[in-house]
């Protein structure tokens, strides 16, 4: 006779606001097995869980493409908006103006951003609108079966043998140039780096632009592609080691003087950057652009936090918006009194 002991359930693991990881999941992914985008989704789930942010406070926005399906796969109880191709930035702008208290995450792809959406992308960067903008960058159009996108590298080869003969648009360089205030490049396969970069983006106030190389296993993961897992693994050149220290954890990070830099973020959190190249200052725009250009020349994929600036006013600051969400202002604050109409009518007589 055997005795079965029923194990007592393991204590449910919860975050600082008492929610378990399941609260941060969304519906099941419908992307290809092994798609880099799924790994990014996982990091987003982890980041919001770790930060202890209530999902309802988040708005998830996207355009069109494989990448743009992903908002359905994380934070299932948050509101989302799957917009039209290349136009997520304008939806984001409207949504943030309507409700400045939302934490807005826009997920886009390289076609959605760098081709059809380049106009809206650059203007979002200029405005420094407080949003997290993630490009899931695989250098091709997955959903229409693998055509090149505008981030495909010169000389990269399609499965069909077609060689890309146009230079890529470097979305990070553009973002830095135009005024985004938190710019990073990462790799979907680099968990350790991507998670703190996303956490840092959430803690930042202003446009946080993350270009995440995310291989398309179906159409762009072969020899000759510069956006394949093996190519990116071989050519990734991390600028630094990144770790994130949230505002709610009282941690002092020990490091040898001169071996690390701290980037203070809006909500009191910090990014600690170790093993930076000597003299690298992430607030130096010119230097950041030079590093990107040099990496491009060498055929390297430079990753990590490239640029951060906490000084530039956000679009919300520039518009001098009231603190409360505009969408919640009562009638008494948005409809001027009768005396105002009388005054205007009198002037028109």
């Amino acid at each position: 006779m055997s005795v079965t002991t029923i194990p007592s359930p393991a204590p449910r693991k919860v975050n600082r606001i008492g929610l378990d990881a399941a609260a941060y999941r969304g519906s099941k992914t419908t992307l290809c097995a092994g798609c880099g985008h799924n790994a990014i989704t996982e990091r987003l789930i982890e980041a919001f869980y770790e930060l202890g942010i209530e999902p309802y406070r988040v708005a998830k926005l996207s355009g069109i493409g494989c990448s743009s399906k992903t908002p359905a796969y994380f934070l299932g109880s948050a509101s989302g908006f799957n917009a039209v191709h290349g136009r997520m930035p304008s939806i984001a702008t409207g949504a943030v103006l309507a409700n400045r208290t939302l934490i807005t995450v826009g997920v886009s792809g390289d076609g959605d951003t760098a081709s059809i959406g380049i106009g809206q992308f650059v203007h979002l960067m200029r405005r420094n609108l407080p949003v997290i903008y993630i490009i899931e960058d695989n250098g091709c159009y997955g959903l229409t079966k693998g055509q090149f996108s505008a981030t495909a590298d010169l000389g990269s080869k399609l499965k069909t043998g077609v060689i890309n003969d146009l230079p890529p648009i470097d979305t990070c360089a553009l973002a830095i140039e135009l005024g985004a205030t938190y710019v990073a490049r990462s790799f979907s396969g680099d968990k350790k780096q991507l998670l703190p970069l996303i956490e840092g983006a959430v803690a930042h106030n202003g446009t946080a632009m993350l270009d995440v190389i995310s291989p398309c296993v179906t159409f762009n993961d072969h020899d000759g592609s510069t956006k394949s897992y093996s190519y990116v693994k071989d050519h990734e050149a991390p600028l630094e080691d990144v770790s994130f220290v949230p505002f709610f954890e009282d941690i002092t990070v020990d490091y040898e003087p001169g071996t690390a830099k701290e980037v203070a973020l809006y909500d009191g959190s910090r990014l600690v950057l170790r093993k930076l190249p000597e003299g690298y200052d992430p607030t130096d725009k010119v230097q950041a652009l030079r590093v990107l250009n040099e990496a491009q020349e060498k055929g390297e994929v430079v990753t990590g936090l490239l640029y951060a600036n906490s000084q530039r006013p956000t679009f919300i600051d520039l518009l001098n918006l009231v603190d409360e969400p505009l969408c919640q202002l009562p009638e008494s604050r948005v409809r001027p009194p009768r005396s105002v109409l009388d005054e205007v009518m009198e002037e028109l007589r």
Binding site: E54, P55, Y56, R57, A59, K60, L61, P71, A72, L75, G76, S77, A78, S79, G80, F81, N82, A83, V84, R87, P89, S90, I91, A92, T93, G94, A95, V96, L97, A98, N99, T101, L102, G119, Q120, H123, L319, N320, L321, V322, D323, P325, L326, C327, Q328, L329, E331, R333, V334, R335, P336, R338, V340, L341, V344, M345, L348, R349
Partner: protein, 614 residues
């Protein structure tokens, strides 16, 4: 009843030297960039202040400086404020067009002109008043740079003497125009007086045109439709505005910016209760409005034809995602360089069905400044009630010209924010389906992002969704959603502003028109009755979908003339789609598409030619 071959105009029937009082049309022909706008507005305002119904129309080129521009001022004791094709008094300031302008006049007209143009030899049947503008302006305005502008004020003085405009009213109008710029007002007033004195000292009045004080403008205001719409938006509580500059719509958002900066800054904090963004293009402009509408703000954009085309994709997404937004379309003529500064009603069909797939949008048609204001208020309520983009179809004529209007009433109705569920509402409900037709009116309930409730969050997406807002491509789900959307559009029929109908007891036929055509129709109905003995019932459509009154009107009429300011009879086409099949044959299209506002005489003649074909 008269026949087409005996058409005579009202003016031609009068003996040419009989006094014509408070019934004239002045045209000022200038070069744009010469600063004539102030002089023209002052003239218009002075006549208005004398109690005479007046309207002004600026016919201008797409240019900043150097091309011909015309401003017409019509004074009408009967209250006609449509454009009048006939010009009674021409002020010819533009050497380029002067000869052609003079040749185009009807017999008996008067011409005030720059003496050096030597126009008097061109016609024997006109009255000419040559004015040496340069020698009059030089001593008044020593600053040569200012002279180009100030010399225009001289014709105000000349015209005032010729017509008998009250000098006190003219001075009041000058002072109003220059507001606190006292020195500028003084200088310009001096020029007006110099013109007046010159005319008094040198001319003998031989034309028949006069203005005399009456009391038909008391209490009224003068405003352009775009400013009126902007006021409506402010009092509608708009909070997010996105726009891209385009003539003739820019002045709507520019006026709005001025008003909001004055009246919508929080007293205590000094902060704005609104966000206005000049977008990178119209695709972004409507995207921002929809993003904000989705977020729960009262949001709008304003554009004109080319911009409307760019908004097409998002308009469809707005329709299917069911997001409120207000889009002002200040209509103009054609794409690209296609007469961008000329008026038309060219976007009616494009707006009604804007986008791809099956879409239909509510349209509102303001006919006046009052309605630009009132319909702006209504549009925001409708957009939120119906959860859909609503288009306000103004045009260049209403939007950019100055109109007499009754002072606008303060909105009595509280804001109608539509079916929005809060977290507390959700707690009381068993379930929430974003696209469920709970009330059987086709209008579902929505939640706003940021609502603290586990079932509040939905992913908003295109047409492929079920009642729970989940992605689906199932045929049943798709059809159910499509059919509900049509139910919603039927609901809209009863919510939109009703047509204004004036039935004539012994009507020969009916007229249907919308928007700025209204003023020509009013006048044409009088012409038809007085000159031809024809009674026309009138239905002024104020919205699409048409309310049932429109259908009934067509049913009652023997024939219906549908007035359009476009080539293709777009309003007529929409009515054909909506009318009972047996009634569609009654509809006769009357079209005006010259880039100029429609005038009554053209309309009357068109109807007569169709009534009694030669």
């Amino acid at each position: 009843m008269g026949s087409a071959s005996t058409v005579i105009t009202e003016k031609e029937s009068q003996p040419s030297r009989k006094r014509v009082v408070n019934d004239l049309s002045i045209q000022v022909a200038t070069v744009n960039g010469s600063g004539s706008q102030s002089a023209n507005l002052i003239l218009l305002r002075a006549i208005f202040q004398m109690g005479i119904p007046v309207s002004g129309k600026n016919l201008f080129p797409s240019n900043i400086e150097g091309l011909p521009t015309w401003f017409t001022i019509r004074a009408s004791r009967r209250g006609y404020i449509a454009r009048c094709a006939q010009v009674d008094l021409l002020v010819a300031m533009n050497p380029e067009t002067a000869a052609e302008d003079v040749r185009g006049l009807g017999p008996g007209a008067a011409v005030v002109y720059d003496q050096k143009l030597d126009l008097a030899s061109l016609r024997k049947d006109l009255t000419f008043y040559p004015v040496p503008f340069d020698s009059i302006v030089a001593p008044i305005c020593p600053d040569a740079k200012l002279r180009k502008r100030v010399r225009n004020m001289i014709y105000d003085g000349v015209v005032a003497w010729l017509l008998g405009i009250d000098l006190a009213e003219l001075e009041r109008a000058v002072r109003k125009q220059f507001k606190r710029k006292v020195k500028a007002a003084d200088l310009n007033w001096k020029a007006v007086l110099a013109g007046y004195d010159y005319a008094q000292g040198n001319f003998e009045k031989t034309d028949p045109f006069h203005v005399e004080r009456m009391n038909r403008t008391q209490g009224k205001i003068l405003i352009d439709g775009n400013s009126a719409a902007a006021l409506g938006c402010m009092f509608a509580g708009v909070t997010v505005v996105s726009w891209y500059p385009i003539t003739p719509s820019s002045s709507l958002c520019e006026s709005l910016i001025d008003y909001m900066k004055r009246y919508r800054i929080d007293r205590e904090t000094g902060k704005a209760t609104f966000g206005i963004v000049q977008a990178e293009d119209e695709l972004a402009a409507i995207g921002m409005a929809l993003g904000a509408g989705w977020g729960g703000a009262r949001a709008m954009t304003s554009t004109s034809g080319p911009g409307l085309s760019l908004m097409a994709e998002f308009a469809g997404l707005g329709y299917y995602t069911e997001i409120p937004a207000v889009v002002f379309d200040i209509q103009r003529v054609g794409p690209s360089t296609g007469l961008p500064t000329r008026t038309a009603q060219g976007d009616i069909l494009a707006a009604a069905f804007l986008s791809h797939g099956d879409t239909c949008h509510p349209l509102l048609f303001p006919a006046s400044a009052e309605e630009c204001y009132g319909m702006a208020l209504e549009a925001f309520d409708l957009a939120e009630e119906l959860q859909t983009p609503v288009f306000v179809m103004s045009d260049l004529d209403i939007g950019m010209n100055l109109w007499m209007a009754d002072p606008f009433p303060y909105p009595e109705k509280p804001l109608e924010r539509g079916k929005v569920l809060t977290a507390e509402d959700l707690n009381r409900l068993d379930s929430f389906g974003r696209y469920k037709d709970t009330d059987h009116d086709g209008i579902p309930y929505r939640t706003l992002p940021g609502t603290n409730h586990p079932s509040a969050g939905v992913v908003t997406r295109g047409s492929g969704h079920n009642e729970m807002a989940q992605y689906t491509e199932r045929p049943e789900d798709y059809v159910r959603n499509m059919d509900r959307l049509i139910r919603k559009f039927e609901t809209a029929r009863s919510l939109v502003p009703r047509a204004v109908i004036e039935d004539e007891p012994e009507a020969n036929f009916g007229i249907v028109a919308c928007g700025s055509s209204h003023w020509a129709v009013m006048e044409a109905r009088d012409q038809l009755r007085e000159e031809y003995g024809l009674n026309a019932s009138y239905c002024r459509v104020r919205a699409f979908p048409f309310d049932t009154g429109v259908r009934n009107f067509i049913q009652r009429c023997r024939r219906v003339y549908v007035v359009d300011q476009n080539r293709d009879g777009q309003l007529c086409s929409l009515l054909r789609l909506d009318a009972e099949p047996a009634d569609t044959v009654k509809l006769r299209s009357v079209r005006h598409y010259k880039g100029l506002p429609i005038d009554a005489r053209t309309l009357t003649n068109s109807i007569i030619s169709l009534e009694a074909p030669a």
